[in-house]
Symmetry: C2
Subunit: 338 residues, 2 copies
């Protein structure tokens, strides 16, 4: 893992170096540092430590991780896939992508080449999905002039322009969006660090707020709709997404404004019947206890630190995917997207 | 303003020094530094900068502030009261306490003595109110073994043991409380810094969480009830309290658990018909953009930073005051408490 020059994309495979180049998202917005990842262990580590994050992006990164490892160690397919699948437990894109690469490699005469081919295919499909999501979402939200979003769902979270943030960017490009409100997204501040960085680069007028202010702002009419991404969608339409999403859904429902979820169909886990079956990752207390060098509470304080929460399908106005929009969101409409 | 030894209480009037001694809450939990405040300007500054905070506590501090200034400058009653009333706009306790001291001083032969006498009376009344709130609240929540609270509402927020945190402490003393969940309360982290500090001092088992995790934890059955304080209660029972309160009320309602508000009747503003009439203080963007020495987002990022939000009365299961409990919370039950 070494530093090289800054790219304009979150993730890029470099055939010359046989390495995956990834913008280190832990250092943004202060430093644009690129990681050069050469094997599956480095990719898994970057995913686990959130240098690479965002459900669709970690799927693509893991796919390349399998290819990188097979090029070095041809007999390692099973162990490599297990390693990468386990890097983070909640996002289904990770196992979706790893399983696709595994299937392609296991039946090919040249497994490493087949794995790389499949990883590239997934990468390009996700880029195309981002464009389609942006288009479908912008159609749905054409009357929303002020949008709120949570966490980061742009080019740093998914190939292409992202998911929910791609919808916001598309509405801005179409000239109908006035402004966006980004929630900071404690504990890791992906909203403050990454979404604000992306909105500024895109030239979209924006305001930042602490997470807990969102409900009151929604109640006070500050935004016309809320649009977020998703880390796993159950077969019945329940949505696991970044912790804090559920409170935004409750506030949007109480205020009578749309609450829209955007993500590729690779995020839908049809083997998962409903939100109660989704495993929620609990992360280290250190994430809660510190911000940068500042210790917030006494050392050793016990914490609850779920990385995600579940929003019941009944609170989701529409689920926007590359294959179209499920509205209302229920078992039938979600199944129709697959 | 100079540093002296650490007290065990948030606020104490020192007759020998003719000064108000206040624990500087900006420095907790890392440093127990005491401010010695000698005039109204210093008291107003300490309130404005949140060295002294908590609706009941700033009322008492302002009352002493009037007395301190009158002892130095007997003709300053009008200007002093205007200064202190304006230190923070949302908590009604501030104007309630200042108006009481003003009335007492304006009709007395010795205004400074009368002001000090009235300030002490308010202080002792608030201490007694804290005990009564703890008792009424504990009666109401006798079956709640795990409670969630927001911001800080203990001895650092109100004379005596506080309000919502006094209820938690009383339930722990009665042997029925198992644990408390404290939300960190961005942007100023009163939960992480102050409530965790108080819970640790009280020996109450506790966990800390980011604000946005609260709704998911409530939905998942992590707590049996939510209890919070209040900065202003409108005549119809709508509650202005620390930003983030409303989202907890929404989540408690969705989960079917009690959402209880605790505060002295001095917090009820009968001149304010409903929540829409409550002025919500917007504070500096710097509070959102930085934590300690860490800059979270690009300098100059626009922020929305409301310090409070409004929870409609219909979401409040009960309002606990020193004069008893309003349940359900509506215009009639609130009026009956006055």
């Amino acid at each position: 893992v070494t530093a090289t020059a800054a790219p304009l994309v979150a993730l890029r495979f470099d055939p010359a170096a046989n390495a995956l180049l990834a913008l280190d998202q832990r250092r943004l917005p202060h430093e644009e540092r690129v990681l050069e990842l050469s094997d599956a262990a480095q990719v898994a580590d970057a995913i686990r430590k959130l240098a690479i994050r965002g459900a669709p992006l970690i799927g693509v990164a893991a796919a390349y991780g399998v290819a990188l490892q097979l090029a070095r160690e041809p007999g390692s397919l099973d162990a490599t896939c297990a390693l990468l699948r386990g890097a983070r437990p909640t996002a289904v894109n990770l196992s979706y992508a790893v399983d696709r690469v595994r299937a392609a490699a296991s039946r090919a005469p040249s497994p490493a080449e087949a794995a790389l081919h499949e990883a590239r295919a997934i990468h390009h499909e996700e880029e195309a999905a981002s464009d389609a999501i942006a288009s479908h979402g912008a159609g749905l939200l054409s009357n929303a002039r002020r949008l709120m979003t949570h966490c980061n769902t742009g080019a740093l979270a998914a190939p292409g322009r992202g998911t929910a943030l791609a919808v916001i960017a598309e509405l801005f490009d179409r000239g109908t969006l006035e402004s966006a409100v980004a929630t900071e997204t404690r504990p890791l501040l992906q909203g403050a660090r990454l979404t604000v960085y992306e909105l500024a680069k895109l030239g979209i007028p924006h305001e930042l707020t602490v997470d807990s202010a969102a409900a009151g702002l929604i109640a006070g009419g500050a935004v016309d709709a809320v649009v977020v991404g998703c880390d796993r969608v159950a077969a019945n339409g329940d949505v696991a997404n970044k912790v804090g999403t559920y409170a935004l859904a409750l506030a949007a429902r109480a205020a009578g404004i749309p609450f829209v979820v955007a993500g590729p169909t690779s995020t839908i886990d049809s083997s998962c019947p409903d939100g109660r079956s989704i495993k929620i990752e609990e992360r280290e207390p250190e994430e809660v206890l510190r911000v940068g060098g500042t210790v917030l509470a006494p050392e050793g304080t016990a914490c609850r630190n779920p990385a995600f929460d579940v929003t019941p399908a009944s609170y989701v106005t529409a689920l926007v995917t590359e294959r179209g929009v499920a509205q209302p969101v229920d078992r039938e409409s979600v199944a129709a997207l697959r």
